[in-house]
Each structure stands twice: as C-alpha cells, then as structure tokens.
Symmetry: C2
Subunit: 313 residues, 2 copies
Amino acid sequence: MATLVAFQSSPKDDAEALQKAFKGWGTDEKTVIAILGHRSVHQRQQIRKAYEELYQEDIIKRLESELSGDIEKAVYRWMLEPTDRDAVLANVAIKSGGKGYNVIVEIATVLSPEEVLAVRRAYHNRYKRSLEEDVAAHTTGDLRQLLVGLVSSFRYGGDEINARLAKTEADILHESIKQKKGNNEEAIRILTTRSKTQLVATFNRYRDDHGISITKKSLDNASDDFHKALHTAIRCINDHQKYYEKVLCNALKRVGSDEDGLTRVVVTRAEKDLKEIKELYYKRNSVHLEDAVAKELSGDYKKFILTLLGKQD
Amino acid sequence: MATLVAFQSSPKDDAEALQKAFKGWGTDEKTVIAILGHRSVHQRQQIRKAYEELYQEDIIKRLESELSGDIEKAVYRWMLEPTDRDAVLANVAIKSGGKGYNVIVEIATVLSPEEVLAVRRAYHNRYKRSLEEDVAAHTTGDLRQLLVGLVSSFRYGGDEINARLAKTEADILHESIKQKKGNNEEAIRILTTRSKTQLVATFNRYRDDHGISITKKSLDNASDDFHKALHTAIRCINDHQKYYEKVLCNALKRVGSDEDGLTRVVVTRAEKDLKEIKELYYKRNSVHLEDAVAKELSGDYKKFILTLLGKQD
C-alpha cells in the first residue's frame, strides 16, 4: 500500500501557488513540499501541464533551479512520470557504473514485464537509443550478459510452475554459485528468461535441497560487479520489499553514503508498497522508519521524505 | 507492395461457402483457394469469427483436417493472425534447430521493433513461456547469445546515424568476422542492440573501408550454426527483400528441399512487399517468379501459391 497522502486540489491553483513560492528572494520550500508532497502521480502531471500553459515554462526545470542538493534531486525524480523517471535512473546508473548496476537490476526485476517495456519505450524517447544498447556498450563479459539479459527480457507473466524444472535449475544455480570462477552462462540464462513465479519456485527448491537460502548463498561470492548484480537480481525477484528495506536501512545507517538509494526507494515506492516496506523496517530494526529519517536526515530534504512517508504535520 | 488481390465479400457468405466445400466426399480445394486466396488479413479473421459463430468450430482446425501436405501447411499459416503466425513459426523453428535458426533471425530482424514485441506477446499467450526463454533453453554459447539478443532486443526505431560509431563498429565487425574462432562478443553486441538505420550505416562503412560487402564477407565463414545465423542477421538487416528473393530462389532450384521457406516468404510477405521481391526475382533470374512456381510446383499447393502471388486465373 501507498504511504502518500494525496489531497484534492486544482492543478491551476497549485501551479499558481508554486509560482508564488518561486518568486522573490529565495524559494519557499515549505509550500513546495506541502503541495507536491501531497499530490498523486496523476495530479503532478496535471500541475506540470497547467504550469506550462500558464507560464510557458517546464516546472521541472524551474524546480531544478529553485532547489539544490538532495531535495532538488528528490523533487526532480518525484515530478517525472514514473516510466520516464526509471529511464532517467537507468541512464544515470549506466553512466556511473559500479553501484549503479544495482539500480538497473532493480528496474529490470522489480517492475512487471509490461512496466519494463514501458521504461524501454521511455528510454527510446528520451535518449534516442535503446536501454540494452547503452547497457551493452558500458559493460563486458558476464556482467554484460546478465544486465543486458535482464533489461531485454519480456518474461512470461503467468502463474504456472514447472516443479521438475525448478529442481533441475535449482541444482544448476547451486553449482554456478558455489564456484567463484565457474561458468555462469546457465545461471544467467535462468535468471534472465524464466518467469518470476517459476524463479521463486526454483529459489524455494534451492533452499529445501541445499539447506541454505539462495539469497544468503549468493552473498558469499558477491565480491565483484557481476556477482553483486547477480545477488541483487536474486533478492529483487525473491522479495523486492525485503530488498528495499535493506537499501533504506543501509542508507540510514551511514548517512551521506547513499541518499540516492534512500530517495529512489521512497520516491518510487511511495505510491505503491512503501507501507509494507515501512512495516518490514520496523520489524527488523524496532525503530519506525519515520523516526530514523527524522533523526538522521535534516532540513527540507528530511521534511520532503517524511511527507512522502505519510507523516502528518 | 502487396501481391494479394482481395475481393469484397461477406464473412458469413464466405463461411457458408467454405462449409459447403468441406462437405461430402473429399474437399473442394478449388473453392477454398478461390475464397481464402482472395481475402485480406482482416477478412480472414472475420471469416474465422463467422465460422465459429455459425458452426461452433475453429475453421483453422477444420482446414487442417480437410487439407494435407504442403497446401495444409500453407493455408494454416495463411489463416493465422500474423503475430500469432510468427509465434508459431518461431516455436517450430526452435524445436527444429539447425536451419530453423534462420527463421528466428528473420522474425527478429525483418519486423519492426514494435512488431517483434507483438510476436513476443503472442508467444506468451500461446505457449505460456517467453520466446527468449525457449530460444535460450535450446541453444548454447555464441549462438544462444546472438539469437536471444536478437529476439529480446527492442531496437531504437529512429533515423539518427552516428558516423563515428559506424566507423568504429565496422572495424570491430571486420576483425570479428575475419577470425573464424575469434571473440564474437562485440559483434553480437553490435548486431543485437544497434538500431537498424545505424547498422546499415555501419555496413556501408564496412564496404567502403574494407573493399567488400559485409554480407559477402560474412558468408565466407558461415560454416557453423552461429556463423550462419550471423550471416542471416546481417542480410536481413541490410536488405530483407534481397534475402527473401534468395530464399525463394533456393527453394525453387531444389524443389522438395524447402517448401517451408517458400510458403513462409509468400504467406508472410503477400500483404506487404512481395511485389518488390517478385521484381527482384525477375531481375536476378530473368524468369518471372510465377513462371518458376508454375513449372516447379504442382497441384493445389501450386494453385494456392500462385493465387497469393497475384496471378489472375
């Protein structure tokens, strides 16, 4: 469930109020947060349109010049239409390499097959190249095979499970993961082409047959970019809410290390399942996510994140 | 341009006439050909629907039991909705291996990026698995990377050309193709991810810089399945009409060797660009395609193919 608390409003009134907030000496961030932090994705697109009509200016560009630092990034991402946002996140990730690969894996594995297609279409529109084309051009070897396979895959979305296949492929994954320098071709094939339902059955079978969860086992070898991406793919397919909880947890433990991760999870999940992720966070840390955010973050960025988390003023 | 000559008709009248042709001792193939060989893709779908409503039976199943041999296959393929037909063709090709790989390459490279997506969707619906999943499970190594890459790709469809990139990648392709046992990773990346417009620019640059066309050069090494598929991909991207002309030419030269190829080209292109392919055929062989078909084929199969080629009785 969503954490976002959206209020009724008129796009035109919102656009005018925002324009007023931009005027004069400095920006009235409080108003920006009070409005945009309480509007649904549809409302935000309407505001963008109304603002364009009223002032012949893209409000996203204006916000970028009015804000700065973490809040600028967060508001910018919040304002983009979700598939377009994912296209931007993927592009930034491709260019940054290393840690960025996780973001590519997230987009390719957490979204539904149809949603991934929509992101690929948005990527065409924005960059005049294909997502897989850019991923392939920035990587090599097994990492390339894995990432290109993940972003290019149009997985079957049905619920059928082939139990025999789950057993065979659990064994293949086990062999591949236990050898650090093994042949990864088959593991890549399985993770990039099977349906998510089938993969979860395979992961369950892995745990039953090998006495350890594949997410734990694949962590052991996660020392290079390929194995890190493999580990992330397995976690995101297996249980993306658990994965996102961990991203938030790590970002809040070492503030200054991963504001991008924190912003990404909150912005992309606030209208989807951030409530469940929050509950998982509390279960694992015995601290409410809002309290950790309130303690570790500061300023307008903190206020904005708390607003998206559904904290009432 | 199309070669199909479609006549106006009512789906209900057609369904009734076909039902009459099926009745009694033997099938009246002449009527089947006279009707179905003169109906557009939309009309055929309407006939299928009308027949289902009138007789609670799928006319495609009925046609399969009424006809046999090459004509059965040809009419069956002709009656399927085009994306569904391509899904069937791909599935048959995956299971047959060897020569079948060409069919997979054709579908992935001749169709537009959006059309390939539609085929992948049809494949989900029909087989409850993804196209790339089945291709990957039936192949290994470089051949797998190439075929999975081709069917999974959602190429950018725009007309932009990067001339610098065309030069660099023409050189990479040249290096890769001239070494029989070379590293094919980069050649696969280029052919599976770049836009078709960019690839044609790269192929032109190849010819200018290396004094030979890449289609000719890639033929030299086309001795194993991987290199054959690579050669087909290059030809289909470079000029698919020329490629199809060659398929027809080979099939007619050695009748009995590739009726599937002949049927496939005629059925899939009759409503698209079979006219241009026919013209190319005449230019290269100084014989009209219809005359070659009339000479080499026989029976109802011949009649049906000639009808789709636009030959008036």
